[in-house]
């Protein structure tokens, strides 16, 4: 008996797995038929980000530093009130075209100071920012952040353009995507008609680009001219949103231009290298049938 089992052990194990999978398949299928999953508002009305064309796109992409600087201005004057940028240092701004003196001035003039200790008493204190500092946190800790923002922590923005599906396009769509749920339609279907019970919880804001449609952040860019651009660009909501998306792409991937340039050289080198190895291979194998 035992030897018989051992002889056909592979069939027994294979049949066991297949059998249990059949039961599972039966369960899934009957569940699907008797209790089909109900469509949710999130599934039906969540929108994918609108395409956004940036100078950093594509294999030869670099940053448009004028745009990135404008985006920095939007971050400074709008976003930085709630959102940290803790991976980025003031000195990094030199890489987007600010001079050393300008960076020093930006750091020194930054509203939130760096935590420090009083040299004489050892008591907690603050000091003005210097170029080597990272951008200071707008809130002392998560509790303070929650308390000031209706129990939601504003996420750090340093890596936002890599931490969301769609990247900068998602940021742009989200910032410009606030709308009224009562009149919102998608694919010819009205949210109010399809889901009459749909309500936006108090303190949240309807935004179809946000995965669960209701986001804690109030619309940050509300009117044209909210910031005054130095370079004369008209500060429409769309423009400001594009600029800050470009800026956050830079904070997430500051070495993108260098990476693309290095990659271009590497690919050229490897094409020549591979061509030479192929020539060597043909040469060595010449006259040998294989």
């Amino acid at each position: 008996m035992v030897s018989l089992i051992l002889r056909y052990i592979n069939y027994i194990i294979g049949a066991a797995f297949a059998f249990v999978l059949l039961i599972a398949l039966w369960g899934t299928a009957s569940e699907l038929i008797t209790n089909p999953p109900k469509a949710t508002a999130e599934e039906e009305f969540h929108l994918e980000p609108e395409p956004l064309a940036l100078h950093s796109d594509g294999p030869f992409g670099t940053y448009d530093y004028r745009q990135v600087q404008r985006g920095f201005q939007v971050y400074k004057e709008v976003c930085s009130a709630c959102h940290s940028l803790k991976q980025v240092a003031f000195r990094d701004l030199e890489k987007i075209g600010y001079s050393e003196a300008q960076v020093k001035a930006i750091a020194a003039g930054w509203q939130i100071e760096q935590p420090d200790v009083n040299k004489d008493t050892g008591e907690p204190a603050t000091r003005p920012n210097v170029a080597s500092d990272r951008f200071p946190l707008p809130f002392a800790n998560d509790v303070a952040a929650r308390a000031a923002n209706n129990n939601a922590i504003p996420p750090d923005l340093s890596l936002m353009a890599k931490a969301r599906e769609g990247g900068p396009a998602y940021i742009h769509s989200l910032l410009t995507g606030y709308t009224d749920p009562k009149t919102f339609t998608h694919d010819g279907k009205s949210l109010a008609k399809e889901f009459p019970d749909f309500t936006v919880p108090t303190g949240l804001h309807f935004n179809p680009y946000f995965p669960n449609l209701n986001i804690a952040m109030p619309p940050p860019l509300t009117q044209d001219g909210q910031v005054q651009y130095q370079d004369g660009t008209r500060a429409t909501v769309d423009q400001m949103s594009k600029d800050v998306s470009a800026f956050l792409m830079w904070t997430a991937e500051p070495n993108l231009a260098k990476r693309h340039a290095t990659g271009f050289g590497a690919v050229i080198f490897l094409l020549i290298f591979t061509g030479l190895t192929f020539g060597a291979y043909r040469n060595i194998w010449r006259g040998i049938k294989h």
Partner: protein, 434 residues
């Protein structure tokens, strides 16, 4: 070792003769990957992937050692230390992207290497040990890759660690205690991160050691070849160097090109955006998915949704580990004396069905577990086990194979070396040499 006509190492320079009498290391290299190792003359480009896997391991070890100089395995600062590598370390972005995408490249070439072995019957006698050591390497790679993915301490790192160590809690009675012991806590935290870093640094060298055994075991019978016919004489082989060093050079060039395109132009394409969010034990991501190279196995794990005698979770874990462990028994499950699928018309069809099956499993494993994908996963998981445990043993016992060429040289001279996977190569009806 190897064939009687293998070139013997004869050092000419007195210094090399002196060394050879005391430490015959050059002799070892000469016999292993030099002119002293005769290799079938008809290997196709699929035989490049072993060397490519070795190259990938070397790249991982070199970039990894430098990254470890800058990385801090502390749950409080790990995420920021990785970002500091990306921003402040000279060429740190290059090292990190090379290491992260290098892991993907490693798995790509190893998967091709494994399926090449499956197609050409490289696991069959006398190469069973080569194959089994390969499965050991694959398991070690999976453990190493999993622990490496935890180190950046992003959301997917943390929750991936939570899910994968959760497998152990499926073991009856003692499972939960084993899980806590492995993690050094109730959830992944400082203790887990620190030991994962230690093991992530150790295991690649274990892999390197097993690779030496893998190559050693390979060199006893010598390499298989696209016809699957054993080497009969010196006319069937060429020395590894310069013939296959040159051919592998081409492979390395193409490998590096693909690698460079990924690294420089799409470094985050194979990653998950959530891993750019710092680990947060209080916030579960909407969809926890492992890295792409685990997707087929993740699909198998998730397919077991029904309790039957054992809990569904235990079935899933058993099946997931079983799906790899059964490869150890492959040399005995396949009873056909013919190696190459070029001469196995029925098995060849099932081989390609298996390829499609695993690709579908991968797709399902990377998707959300909606009922439709779940059902697709259940069907393809069932087929995976049926292929190895039921179909293959029966087909290999019943199949009528095509006539084999008398020798590699005969196949080569008739243009039917099988080095290209064309129909002419697999037609197989070889007339006697005239």
């Amino acid at each position: 070792m190897s064939f009687p006509w293998a070139e013997e190492y004869k050092p000419k320079h007195p210094a090399m003769q002196w060394l050879d009498q005391r430490l015959p290391l050059p002799r070892l290299v000469y016999g292993a990957i030099g002119a002293g190792y005769p290799v079938p003359r008809n290997l196709n480009y699929f035989w490049n992937f072993g060397v490519l896997a070795g190259a990938a391991l070397a790249i991982q070890i070199i970039t990894g050692i430098v990254l470890a100089m800058h990385y801090a395995a502390n749950a409080g600062v790990a995420f920021d230390s990785v970002e500091s590598i990306m921003r402040d370390v000279n060429a740190g972005w290059f090292l990190r992207y090379a290491h992260a995408n290098g892991a993907s490249m490693f798995f790509i070439v190893v998967y091709v290497h494994i399926f090449r072995g499956l197609y050409y019957g490289s696991y069959k006698p006398p190469r069973e040990m080569v194959w089994m050591l390969g499965v050991v390497i694959f398991l070690l790679m999976m453990a190493t890759a999993f622990m490496g993915y935890v180190l950046p301490w992003g959301q997917m790192s943390f929750w991936g660690a939570q899910v994968i160590t959760g497998f152990f809690s499926a073991i009856p009675v003692v499972g939960e205690n084993i899980r806590i012991w492995l993690l050094g806590g109730y959830a992944p935290d400082q203790a887990a991160l620190n030991r994962f870093f230690s093991l992530h640094y150790l295991l690649p060298f274990v892999i390197a050691g097993v690779i030496i055994l893998h190559i050693w075991a390979l060199h006893i019978p010598g390499s298989n070849n696209p016809t699957g016919v054993e080497v009969k004489g010196p006319q069937d082989t060429v020395p590894f160097h310069p013939y296959y060093t040159a051919k592998d050079g081409v492979g390395v060039g193409v490998f590096l090109l693909v690698f460079a395109l990924l690294l420089f132009f799409a470094p985050n394409y194979l990653g998950h955006p959530d891993n750019y969010i710092e680990a947060n034990p209080l916030s579960t991501p909407a969809h926890i998915v492992p890295e792409w190279y685990f997707w087929p196995f993740y699909a198998i794990l998730r397919s077991f949704t029904a309790d039957f005698i054992l809990p569904a979770k235990l079935w899933g874990v058993l099946a997931m580990f079983g799906s790899i462990l059964l490869l150890f028994f492959l040399p005995w499950l396949d009873k056909s004396p013919v190696r190459s699928s070029n001469f196995r018309p029925v098995y060849r069809v099932f081989f390609w069905i298996l390829v499609v099956d695993v690709l579908v499993l991968g797709y399902v494993g990377g998707s959300e577990a909606t009922p439709v994908y779940l059902m697709l996963g259940q069907i393809t998981s069932g087929y995976y086990f049926a292929h190895f445990l039921i179909i293959l043993p029966i087909v290999s016992a019943l199949e009528r194979t095509r006539p084999l060429p008398n020798s590699i040289t005969e196949a080569v001279l008739q243009g039917k070396s099988g080095s290209r996977m064309s129909e002419t190569a697999v037609d197989g009806n070889v007339a006697p040499a005239e």
